[in-house]
C-alpha cells in the first residue's frame, strides 16, 4: 500500500517534471483541456481562460484572490452556468453545452463552495443519492422493492465505508441539516465520491474544517489519487496546497497568470504580488504578533477618540 502511494505521487510528479512552468503549458496526458473559456457578467469579465490542461492522475490546486473567478470557472466546466464562448474536452470528448447532470454522469463531479447538504434527508440518504445507475430511480421499478433492494444494500455498504473514512459514521441516521458546517463539507465530499468520479473538483473543501481533521482529509484527497482519480481543488490555505498538490494553477481577475509545481509557484513574483503578499511564507513570531496587536489596538482607540 505504502509503496503504491509513493508510486502514484512519483508518477504524477514525473509526468509533470518536464512541463514548463508557464500559463497554458501542455501536459503529457491531460484529462481536461480548456480553450478560450469566457464568462462575462455585464461589464465584468469574470473568467477569461485561454488554455489550461489538467494532468490525469494528479492533484492540481487552483488558487487565486477572492473574486478571481475560480468558482465561476468551475461552474462553466460543470454545466452549472453557460460560458459566453470557449470549448473544453473531458477525456477527449467535447463538453460544451452538456448539462450539469450529464457532466456528472461522465465522471466529472464537483462540490460547492457554499455547501449543499440536503437538510431534510439523513446523512445516509444523502450518501445513497450519490450512487449512479440506480434501478429504483425509475418510477415503475420503484414500486417493487425487490427490484432495487439488493442494489440498495450494496450502495449502503459502500456509503458506510465512506462515512467511516470521513468520521461521519456516528451521524448516519441524523438529518444532514443538523450537522455542523465542517461536517457538511465532509458529507458533501463523501457524497461526491459516491458518484464514482474520474475527476473530482472540490471548491474549498477545507474551509471551516478543524486542523486535526484537515490532516486526515488531506490523507483522503491523496488517497483519491491513489485510487486513480484526478483531483482539481480550490483552496486558500497555502500549507495545504503545498502539502498535497502536484501542480498549482493561479488565477487572477479571470485569467490564468501562472502555473507550475507548488514551490516554483510560491516563489513566483507575480503570484506573490497578486495573491500571497510579501509575508506569506514567514509565520509570525510572538513578538511580531504582539506588535501587530498593539498597533491594531492603537488604531482602534484613535478611531474611538475621533468619533467622541
Amino acid at each position: 500500500m505504502h509503496a503504491d502511494t509513493v508510486n502514484r505521487k512519483a508518477e504524477a510528479l514525473a509526468a509533470l517534471a518536464s512541463v514548463p512552468s508557464e500559463p497554458g503549458a501542455p501536459k503529457p496526458d491531460p484529462i481536461l483541456v480548456v480553450d478560450n473559456v469566457v464568462r462575462r457578467f455585464g461589464g465584468l469579465t469574470a473568467v477569461e481562460v485561454e488554455h489550461v490542461e489538467i494532468q490525469r492522475g494528479s492533484i492540481t490546486a487552483l488558487i487565486g484572490p477572492n473574486g478571481a473567478g475560480k468558482t465561476t470557472f468551475f461552474n462553466q466546466l460543470t454545466g452549472f452556468d453557460t460560458a459566453d464562448s470557449g470549448a473544453w474536452t473531458f477525456n477527449g470528448k467535447p463538453m460544451n453545452g452538456v448539462s450539469a447532470h450529464q457532466v456528472a454522469r461522465r465522471g466529472m463531479v464537483r462540490t460547492f463552495q457554499l455547501t449543499k447538504a440536503l437538510s431534510k434527508l439523513t446523512v445516509m440518504e444523502n450518501m445513497r443519492l450519490g450512487a449512479q445507475k440506480q434501478r429504483g430511480e425509475n418510477f415503475f421499478r420503484a414500486l417493487f422493492s425487490g427490484l432495487w433492494q439488493p442494489q440498495e444494500d450494496e450502495i449502503t455498504v459502500r456509503a458506510e465505508e465512506l462515512l467511516e473514512r470521513f468520521k461521519l459514521g456516528a451521524k448516519r441516521d441524523d438529518f444532514a441539516g443538523s450537522l455542523s458546517g465542517g461536517q457538511r463539507k465532509l458529507l458533501e465530499m463523501a457524497r461526491a465520491l459516491m458518484v464514482g468520479p474520474e475527476l473530482v473538483m472540490l471548491d474549498e473543501p477545507m474551509a471551516g474544517v478543524n486542523p486535526a481533521l484537515t490532516q486526515s482529509l488531506l490523507g483522503h484527497v491523496k488517497d483519491l489519487r491513489e485510487q486513480g482519480m484526478t483531483v482539481l481543488f480550490v483552496e486558500h490555505d497555502m500549507d495545504m496546497v503545498r502539502d498535497i498538490s502536484d501542480w498549482v494553477i493561479v488565477m487572477a481577475q479571470g485569467t490564468v497568470i501562472a502555473e507550475g509545481p507548488p514551490d516554483t509557484i510560491m516563489a513566483d513574483a507575480r503570484v506573490i504580488d497578486a495573491y500571497l503578499g510579501a509575508h506569506h511564507d514567514a509565520p509570525l513570531t510572538t513578538a511580531e504578533a504582539e506588535e501587530q496587536l498593539h498597533q491594531a489596538e492603537a488604531e482602534l482607540e484613535a478611531e474611538i477618540e475621533e468619533k467622541a
Binding site: 452549472f80 449543499k116 434527508l121 443538523s178
Partner: protein
C-alpha cells in the same frame, strides 16, 4: 339543540364525498409540494381536466364511459406536460404563477359561450354518469349505522372513492420510500446538489407533476360523478387553496397527511357550521342570522389555518425536527 344531528352531520362530512375528493386532490398536491417542492397552485385545473374529460367524452361525444376515464387521465398528463415544459427549468415561483393562470384558463375555456356546444357553458354537462351508477353494487335504499346514513348512490361513490384513496396512498408510500422518492425529496432541498450527482432534475420534476396531476384528475372524476354533473365554477382557485389547507393541516410530505387533513377539515367545517345553525335556530346565539353562518364559518377556517401555521406548522402528522432545521 340537536346534538345528534350536529355530530352525525360532522361524521358524515368527515367520511363523505367532499372529504374523499379533497383527500385525493391533496394527495396529488402532496407529491407536488410536499415531496418535490413544486408550488402548484393549479390543482383545480387537474380536477377540471379529469371531470370534463369524462363528461365531454360521454355526454357530448356519446362515447363509452371507460374511454372517458382514459381520456380524462390522458388530458391530465398532457396538462402536466404543458405546464411543466416551459416552467420547470425556471425558478419555483414561475410554476406557481403559471399553474394558477393555467387552471383559470381551463375554467374559462369550459365555461365559454363559444364552446357551449362541447362543454355546456356555465351550466356544464350532465348525463354522463349512468354507466358509473350502473356498476353500483348496492341495491337502492339507505345504509348506515344509527344516525349516520348514506343512500346507495353516495355509498357507491364513497366505496370507489376510498378505494382510490387507499390505492393512491399505497403507491405514494411505495415510491416515496424508494430511490425515486429520495430523488424527489432531494430536489425539494436543493436542485443543484442533485444535478451535481448526475440526476436529471427536470425529468424528475416532470414525473412528479404528472403523477400528482393524475391523482388530481381522479378527484375530478369523483367530483363530477358524485354530482352526476359538472360545472366550470366548481373548479375555481378556492378549491386549490382548500386542498392546500387540507394538506398543511394533515402534514405535508407524510403519506397519510392529506387523508387525515381532509377528514378533519370537513368534519370540523360541518361541525361548526351545523353547530352554529342549530344555535341560531334555538336562539342560543342571537346576534347573527342563519344566512350569515356560512361566511362566519369560512372566517373561522381562516383563523384556524393561521393558528395552525403559528403553533403547529408541520401539521398533525409532521415532524417537528424537520421544521426546526429551517431555522438553522
Amino acid at each position: 339543540m340537536d346534538w345528534t344531528l350536529i355530530f352525525s352531520r360532522a361524521v358524515e362530512a368527515g367520511i363523505g364525498t367532499e372529504a374523499v375528493i379533497y383527500a385525493l386532490a391533496a394527495i396529488g398536491l402532496n407529491i407536488h409540494f410536499g415531496y418535490t417542492g413544486l408550488l402548484n397552485f393549479g390543482q383545480a385545473g387537474f380536477l377540471a381536466v379529469g371531470a370534463y374529460g369524462v363528461a365531454t367524452t360521454v355526454a357530448t361525444l356519446g362515447l363509452p364511459f371507460w374511454l372517458g376515464i382514459v381520456i380524462g387521465l390522458a388530458a391530465a398528463v398532457l396538462f402536466a406536460l404543458l405546464l411543466g415544459i416551459p416552467t420547470l427549468r425556471l425558478r419555483a415561483d414561475y410554476l406557481a404563477i403559471v399553474t394558477i393562470a393555467a387552471a383559470e384558463i381551463v375554467r374559462l375555456v369550459v365555461r365559454s359561450v363559444a364552446l357551449q356546444g362541447t362543454f355546456g357553458g356555465t351550466d356544464g354537462l350532465e348525463a354522463f354518469s349512468d354507466d358509473f351508477y350502473g356498476m353500483n353494487i348496492y341495491s337502492p335504499g339507505q345504509y348506515g349505522i344509527g344516525p349516520i346514513a348514506f343512500d346507495h348512490r353516495t355509498l357507491w361513490v364513497l366505496t370507489v372513492g376510498w378505494i382510490l384513496v387507499a390505492a393512491a396512498c399505497a403507491v405514494v408510500y411505495l415510491v416515496m420510500k424508494s430511490p425515486w422518492g429520495r430523488v424527489l425529496k432531494a430536489i425539494r432541498e436543493d436542485e443543484d446538489a442533485v444535478r451535481s450527482l448526475g440526476k436529471n432534475v427536470f425529468s424528475y420534476k416532470m414525473q412528479a407533476l404528472v403523477f400528482g396531476g393524475v391523482i388530481g384528475s381522479l378527484a375530478g372524476f369523483l367530483f363530477a360523478l358524485s354530482r352526476a354533473a359538472t360545472q366550470p365554477d366548481l373548479f375555481s382557485t378556492e378549491l386549490t387553496f382548500f386542498a392546500y389547507t387540507v394538506l398543511i393541516l394533515g402534514g405535508a410530505a407524510r403519506v397519510f397527511g392529506p387523508v387525515l387533513g381532509a377528514v378533519i377539515f370537513w368534519c370540523l367545517l360541518i361541525l361548526v357550521k351545523t353547530g352554529m345553525e342549530e344555535a341560531v335556530n334555538h336562539q342560543v346565539i342571537t346576534f347573527i342570522t342563519v344566512n350569515q353562518v356560512g361566511s362566519i364559518n369560512y372566517m373561522l377556517v381562516g383563523l384556524g389555518l393561521v393558528l395552525l401555521l403559528i403553533y403547529r406548522p408541520q401539521g398533525i402528522l409532521g415532524d417537528k425536527r424537520e421544521i426546526a432545521l429551517d431555522a438553522r
